[in-house]
């Protein structure tokens, strides 16, 4: 237990000094995607439900937060919160429809509804359509700290993403998380024990959508824009890849997966391999599914278990 605490302290210290060593925008991108993947993992890893439409919550919140900051002039924190809540509300609607079906149907329904959201955002006036929503002001944290400074912004984003991650950890370790896992492993048994299965699933789905929204809204503040890329179904695929690569159903897996995928995309994008990014991502996907289903963290855990 003390070993673990030492590790946590070390990790926090590393996160504090990181922006002085690495390009802060890049770090913030990783943080946002790490929260997104962790939120996604809540329903895939712990609920056993594959949503293929999480881009709708991530990107939808990105647009709404951008609009709230740019047009309504809300303070930055409030804009992010509004984005997250809107994503949660949409998640509730999708959840109500989708949890009627399981497995592959669930994946296809979430995907189709997310695509519907995509078409909505492409034609709605406030999103700027193909142009995207640009020039979103970063504003001030708590009305005091100027977020146009990358380093200040980094700590702001770090606080949000750590907070979101702690909510995920708390949810997983709570009685609610236990029921969710019981449901994943044996739904009939959970029903026979008297749990309201649909309600538990829906709650998990809404929580996941809200946190994904917070991640997307924070990303808007960092890059000062929201665009169709955020709501496109490729984004839904990307978060699945991050989670799968890092380790489905592990707490740190999605975080690590997000880091690896974002770092890979960034490194490849500026090199001679830039045109190969989709091919490389697809290949990683195929390899993960065929030979590596536990993901990086899952494999390490298995290795530790075998060795001791």
């Amino acid at each position: 237990m003390t070993n673990r605490n030492i590790l946590i302290v070390l990790a926090l210290a590393a996160l504090m000094v990181a922006p002085f060593v690495v390009y802060p925008i890049f770090l913030m991108k990783i943080l946002c995607f790490a929260l997104f993947a962790a939120a996604f993992n809540l329903i895939l890893g712990y609920g056993g439900l594959l949503s293929f439409g999480h881009a709708a919550y991530f990107g939808g919140a990105a647009y709404i937060c951008g609009h709230a900051l740019k047009v309504w002039g809300l303070p930055t924190e409030l804009g992010i919160l509004v984005g997250g809540l809107a994503a949660g509300a949409f998640g509730a609607v999708v959840g109500l429809l989708a949890i009627r079906r399981q497995g592959i149907y669930f994946a296809m329904i979430t995907l189709a509804l997310a695509q519907m959201a995509f078409f909505f955002f492409i034609s709605a006036d406030f999103t700027g359509g193909e142009n995207g929503l640009q020039g979103v002001p970063r504003g001030y944290a708590l009305g005091l700290f100027d977020l146009s400074n990358n380093i200040t912004l980094y700590y702001f984003v770090l606080a949000i993403c750590l907070g979101g991650f702690l909510i995920v950890v708390r949810a997983v370790h709570s009685p609610f998380g236990q029921v969710l896992r019981a449901l994943r492993d044996n739904e009939d048994r959970a029903i026979s024990l008297g749990y309201d299965v649909e309600r538990v699933k829906l709650l998990a789905f809404v929580l996941s959508a809200t946190l994904s929204g917070i991640a997307g809204a924070t990303k808007t503040v960092v890059f000062q824009l929201a665009s169709l890329t955020d709501v496109n179904w490729h984004m839904s695929g990307e978060v699945v890849l991050m989670t799968l690569l890092g380790g489905v159903g592990t707490l740190l897996g999605p975080v690590l997966g997000a880091g690896v995928v974002v770092a890979l995309q960034n490194t490849l994008a500026s090199g001679p391999l830039s045109a190969w990014v989709p091919v490389i991502m697809g290949t990683i996907f195929v390899i993960c599914v065929l030979a590596f289903r536990r993901g990086i963290v899952g494999e390490i855990n298995a290795l530790i278990k075998r060795s001791f």
Binding site: L50, I104, M108, M116, G282, V289
Partner: protein, 296 residues
Amino acid sequence: MLADLLGIPPQLLFGQLLLGLISGAFYAVLSLGLAVIFGMLNIVNFAHGALYMLGAFASYFLLKILGINYWGALILAPIIVGAAGIVIERFLLRRLAGVDHLYGLLLTFGLALVIEGLFVKFFGASGLPYPTPEALKGGVNLGFMFVPWYRAWVVVAAVIVCVFTWWLFERTKVGAYLRAGTENPTLLQAFGVNVPLLTTLAYGYGVALAGLAGVLAAPITQVAPLMGSNLIITVFAVVVIGGMGSIMGAAVTGLAMGMIEGLTKVFWPEASATVIFVIMAIVLVIRPAGLFGRTA
């Protein structure tokens, strides 16, 4: 006359209905392929859009490199795509036997990324032109609109393919095996039927249908690497609406959804891209198993 009453030019109403029927023809052939694959393998083939694109590219190369015209491509391209499908099934999908079917979806998603990415890399995203076959150039003026022969042919071809597939599955021995394989593969294997071979053939046939849709699309749209990538999601919605139960269900739903989309373009153009998804949501509330589906 009805159209005149509503203040909509008949040219527009019938024209968009006909165009809707044409896009419905593509939905029908593609969702038919998905239904065949789903029936036998229980997976959703995310690579369907990429294989549809492969069919269009196959006909492009048959013409440019081997000088084989459209009619030859109509036979050869589906065979090429079907063969590619058989390779995918034998060497990749088969390894997933026994794990959650969701992994099949994820695998085919990865494959779609790889295939589409490779084509974008080598041929650019904007696409290559494919000429309309000589025999189908021009069109006929129906009074209310000008119908190009080629578009009319697409609808006819799609109907032929749907009827043939229905006959194959509902009226032949192979079809009987396939349906039995969907119900109880173990029992069928015990009767001495080679179920793995049947599975491979079903996947091959399903993606060959996607390849055929690609050939049909080539003269209409550009032959472009991402031509199937958004289309496939609409087709997924069509499949959810129809339910995975019957071959005919997939075909009928496809054509009907195309027509509804066309009508929406006349009365409420802004909603035309989303109408199929809205219908899907409504169907899910009323009949969760889909219009033609059996309750699971």
